[in-house]
Symmetry: C2
Subunit: 118 residues, 2 copies
């Protein structure tokens, strides 16, 4: 008899029996990238690094405070990295890491869905 996966639980009643329960990693991913503004920021950063003011231009209605907060969260999750170019004038850019760029299929799939269904 195969050992059940950690993500699987057996339900007591009919239809849910043998069905995979929602995986906690996936749940965490939704909470992370589905946060207000985060999805929008990821989509514009997929086209390449941007400065703070450039992200603001490309994501209308996003306040300085929230953008700054969201960038810090994404940095702490190693999805975005802050790059400081030292030569004057000093220039700070935000770029997706490998982990961040790996979100591209999910972002593109949701963009396709939005274009078709919303």
């Amino acid at each position: 008899m195969p050992v059940p996966l950690r993500e699987e639980i057996r339900a007591a009643d009919g239809g849910a029996e043998g069905r995979a329960a929602c995986c906690s990693l996936y749940h965490r991913a939704v909470e992370l990238v589905g946060k207000r503004w985060t999805g929008a920021m990821l989509s514009v950063l997929l086209d390449g690094p941007l400065r703070f003011s450039e992200i603001k231009t490309l994501v209308p209605d996003l306040s300085d405070r929230l953008l700054s907060e969201r960038l810090k969260e994404l940095e702490s999750e190693q999805i975005v990295e802050r790059r400081v170019h030292d030569e004057p004038p000093v220039r700070v850019e935000y770029a997706l890491t490998d982990k961040g760029r790996a979100l591209e299929p999910a972002v593109r799939a949701l963009q396709d869905w939005a274009q078709h269904w919303l």
Copy 2:
């Protein structure tokens, strides 16, 4: 000269010039399916219709109140439909509509990302 898409704006400064701004439809999609618990509910419903109690079993820690609220939201967006089977005992099931099932590529891509990176 090509007419710019509605979703494109031209930024005043360097790096953002000519880059597509975040599309409002995509932004709405993220806010909709990225809401706390919604992503988890979609993932378990992708395997087929479920009763209220079955969703609760498959999405641990989700309260009755929140599940009920989220189901109403998804119904009003035509992502989930409520099916009442009249023969006794009366049975109520929740199923994804075509619009809901069309979210599968996005959900699967995010699941893959979560498995690999989180």
